[in-house]
């Protein structure tokens, strides 16, 4: 829990607020995606990176958030903007029983069990047509038409909110308990930490933040269907952005999310026309390499990276 220098993030924050009105629609769209993934990665990191429970099924919360918004429109004609409340609430209500059952599992079992949960939810939404409109999905009319700027400021606020929530939590008792559970769950129990309860305390904001991003997605993209919001690739991307940036660090997820979106767009722009989906492949490859050589992500391995560039050999003095 090192001291953070606020200078760089403050500058970036000002740029993030002031720059977009001067950019074209395409770039605004990219920034919207960046902000959305920053929120999702930061949310996932709370449960996965800080608390050590890496869930491979977080797309469930994204999709529930999206459908929370979409179903309001589909069944009751309510504006999907109310989804920013309904979406996270739905995600949280569903995550509670899920957590209570899956937190009995540890390690790799937990990772995969969350995938099983997400797949099940996807199948339910695909088949229960009366509830969700099935594979046809839900289409809405966009409130601001082709204008991207209002959406951008909305998602910027969501990203800022998620960063703030995680910041406050990690400075408090919750943060210490989350990390204790990650480092050694048995030792934590011996210190009086009810581990299942605190894993839930990490899961709930995580699900809420990711659900909020989902509700935003519904309103922005104006179309969702189960295979768009619930698939493995969404869950995997959440994990992979965090692993790229640095799990268990504050800015790591945001960094990973930014690199992911920018890199994907870059690859899509240059290699896309030649080989359709090659940007996903290249991203996955980069991921494999990052995990192999920088297993703690860019922020986590920052010291190592700096040494590499300075060409110094590491010097070990006692406990350093």
């Amino acid at each position: 829990m090192a001291k953070k220098s606020w200078f760089l993030p403050a500058i970036l924050g000002i740029v993030a607020i002031a720059l977009p009105p001067f950019l074209g629609g395409y770039f605004q769209h990219i920034l919207i995606l960046v902000m959305m993934w920053i929120a999702m990665a930061t949310g996932w990191n709370l449960l996965g990176g800080y608390c050590g429970q890496a869930s491979l099924g977080s797309a469930a919360f994204f999709g529930l958030g999206a459908y929370g918004a979409g179903l309001l429109h589909l069944h009751w004609g309510i504006s999907p903007w109310w989804g920013v409340i309904a979406g996270p609430v739905l995600a949280i209500i569903v995550c509670i029983p899920i957590g209570l059952v899956t937190f009995r599992l540890r390690g790799g079992y937990f990772v995969l069990s969350m995938l099983a949960v997400c797949e099940t939810i996807r199948i339910v939404f695909l088949n229960w047509v009366e509830m969700s409109a099935g594979p046809l999905g839900i289409i809405i009319e966009r409130t601001w038409g082709m204008e991207k700027l209002p959406y951008y400021y909305m998602v910027l606020a969501i990203a800022a909110l998620s960063l703030y929530v995680v910041y406050r939590l990690m400075k408090s008792k919750f943060g210490y308990y989350f990390v204790s559970i990650r480092e050694d769950q048995d030792a934590a129990e011996g210190l009086g930490i009810p581990s299942t309860k605190y894993k839930m305390y990490a899961l709930i904001p995580c699900a809420g933040i990711i659900g909020l991003a989902g509700a935003f997605y519904m309103n922005y993209m104006a179309f969702i269907e189960p295979n768009v919001v619930f698939p493995l690739i969404i869950s995997a991307t959440m994990i992979l952005t965090v692993m790229l940036g640095g799990p268990g660090t504050f800015w790591g997820p945001a960094l990973g999310a930014t690199i992911f979106v920018l890199l994907s767009e870059l690859l899509r722009a240059f290699a896309g026309p030649v080989i359709g989906t090659i940007h996903y492949l290249l991203f996955a490859l980069i991921l494999v390499l990052v995990i192999m050589f920088l297993p703690n992500g860019i922020v986590g391995e920052w010291a190592k990276i700096r040494r590499l560039f300075r060409g110094k050999k590491p010097v070990y003095v006692g406990g350093e």
């Binding site: 996965g48 990176g49 050590g52 890496a54 491979l56 059952v101 899956t102 009995r104 599992l105 390690g107 790799g108 079992y109 990772v111 995969l112 069990s113 995938l115 099983a116 949960v117 797949e119 099940t120 199948i123 339910v124 695909l126 088949n127 990650r182 698939p231 493995l232 690739i233 995997a236 994990i239 992979l240 692993m243 640095g246 799990p247 268990g248 660090t249 080989i275 359709g276 989906t277 090659i278 996903y280 492949l281 996955a284 490859l285 991921l287 494999v288 995990i291 192999m292 050589f293 297993p295 703690n296 986590g300």
Partner: protein, 291 residues
Amino acid sequence: MALFGQTIICGFLMGGVYAVIAIGMTLILGVMKIINIGHGHLMMVGMYVCFALFASLGLHPYIAMFVAMPCLFGIGYLLQRYSIQRVRFVDTILPQTQVLLTLAIGLVFVEIIRVIFKSDFRSVYTPFSSKCLYIGDMSISLPQLVSFGIAMAFVAGLHILLTRTDFGRSIRATAQDLDAAKYMGVDALRVSSLTFGLGMALAAAGGALLLPIFYLFPDIGTPFTIKALIITILGGAGSTVGALSGGLVFGMAESLGAVYWAPGYKDVVGFVIFLLVLLFMPGGLKTVIKR
């Protein structure tokens, strides 16, 4: 009544093939203590190898299987030796880094296949793909029966490998106690890499056996990874006998769910079983049988 019998038999036969895939996962889990999230995805690669051989040379999957298996074995060996091994004993902030690496690797393969073959649904149609055997009022799919037979042959062969050969004994030793095995002269790295390759080869075999029955597309792997996990937990981690019995039970339950509940929800049946096992039998079927 005939429907019930048919459903059970169909499930039993499918279960046998699921078991082969699950045994691959449970072997890897036992020896390396890693859950291979990419298991289903690499199975998918094996299936595409068979498909490619079918599309270009007209080779039947049951024959192409013997090309796919060594391919996947080699891929698995190299992956473990040069990629996964690097992070296995590294102390990382996130405890499940190794497991997530298997995920990333699986995704690489999915995307490679997607680039080569696109996302279109493919199928392999063989002369006896739709032939059925009739017992009384029940019809039993011939491809399923043959697949089952081949699957059981593999299981038997594996059993012999594990119990009668030195390699098999090294595998079991490493799974039970890594340090003790090392002290006994077992080359743990070699055993892990060969086991990973073996696990992949079994997944490829299972996939090839399923090829005449399913439509093939790049994302087909995910449900199978989950099924393999459920069967592994059902049978008890690291137990090949457990994986076999778990696979058969799972197959039958899934089949019953598909017929009597709703076909679309077939995969959900597996999840329900998973939940129940989690809640009531954390040690898997093994604990029930012992009692």
